[in-house]
Symmetry: C2
Subunit: 217 residues, 2 copies
Amino acid sequence: MGKENKKKNRVVPEPALRRMPCYLAQLKVAKKEGQKYISSPKIANIMDIDPTQVTKDLSYTKIAGKTRVGYEVEPLIEELEDFLGFKSLDEAFLFGVGSLGTALIRDFGLKQFGLNISAGFDINPDVIGQKYDGVEIYHVDKFKELINPDIKIGILTVPVEVAQETAELMIDNGIKAIWNFTPVILRVPDNIVVQNTSLYAHLAVMFNRLHSKESKS
Amino acid sequence: MGKENKKKNRVVPEPALRRMPCYLAQLKVAKKEGQKYISSPKIANIMDIDPTQVTKDLSYTKIAGKTRVGYEVEPLIEELEDFLGFKSLDEAFLFGVGSLGTALIRDFGLKQFGLNISAGFDINPDVIGQKYDGVEIYHVDKFKELINPDIKIGILTVPVEVAQETAELMIDNGIKAIWNFTPVILRVPDNIVVQNTSLYAHLAVMFNRLHSKESKS
DNA sequence: CAGTGTGAAGTTGTTCACAGCA
DNA sequence: TGCTGTGAACAACTTCACACTG
């Protein structure tokens, strides 16, 4: 009877969500190598983590593994891409067309992973009016005209000083999720999703680990 | 191991390290506004976190707050920058001069935070020989000639397929820490520091939170 | 009997409660 | 009284143990 309705709708822990794209990358390699099935110990071994971690993470998706065999590679790739939101294309506006902003627009397969940047905004006359890979850059003032209900995601790559006010501008005009590349912790209402990706934070962690290992040995 | 000695040399939790650059950004704002002291409740309020979280995080540094007053802004900035390794300049080589790699080289901000990229490596003839903001790009084969004991950090922005082998090349030639922008989990010896910064992982978390909030309301 | 799936134990990080100080 | 600083209670995440299945 109700085989599926029992398991879903749990909150997925953030660490698990962060591991899933890694599984996905490995699975694609496995697929290229022609493997039809892959087991959790195998994945775990490649990534040097605990096998039950893998099964627990995968249990949040609706794919089921076969005992003694493992998971079928191709359906698992499909399910993971779907689960992670990489299959449906979300539209986003980007604020702050500096070097990082430009890279995100031009790059690198964000579209492949379900994110399409449909316009960029800045106040620098040098970039306004430019087109990068088909994405046009406008003055921030144009934002209110161009926004529409399909755009739920805003990418924040502006200087620290204007981060909070730019975030508020986004929210006031209907943005529901902010991908924040500044080191500023944004103050936003509860119903707004913020994903912080501060390179400096990661740099800090790396320096600390490196320097403490150096002084130890 | 033994009784707890003095205060220093504890292992700093990674979440704490990640919060510190945010404190730093806020402190710089406070300094600009002319504030001489700032208290933990004040910082906590700005960042919407628990005040004791702030005091606990700051207790890992060697700055001490004044009762009833808070922390002196300028010395705290100095200490945080020093503690996080942002004051001394570390040299790094970058592997994979695609659009992200190029952005990291050009993004002067990294130098401000203690990381200087002194060379880039790729196999694409179009970029080899180029100079971006004074940073020269070489063929990967040149890496062995150019490496020296001052270079302890390698930045990995290559395509997924060659991530592991490039990491091994780095390690074999003396790199001690790898800033990994690929979604691949690298297999490395214990004494090597790896900092994973996969944009796709963050994207996955953001999509999940956004889509689950959408379906809830 | 190797591998999935899950509740229970263990570990790590966060929040609380309170002592001490100016 | 308001704030720092810390040990103790609590929550989140990870690892373990084991029942189950082909």
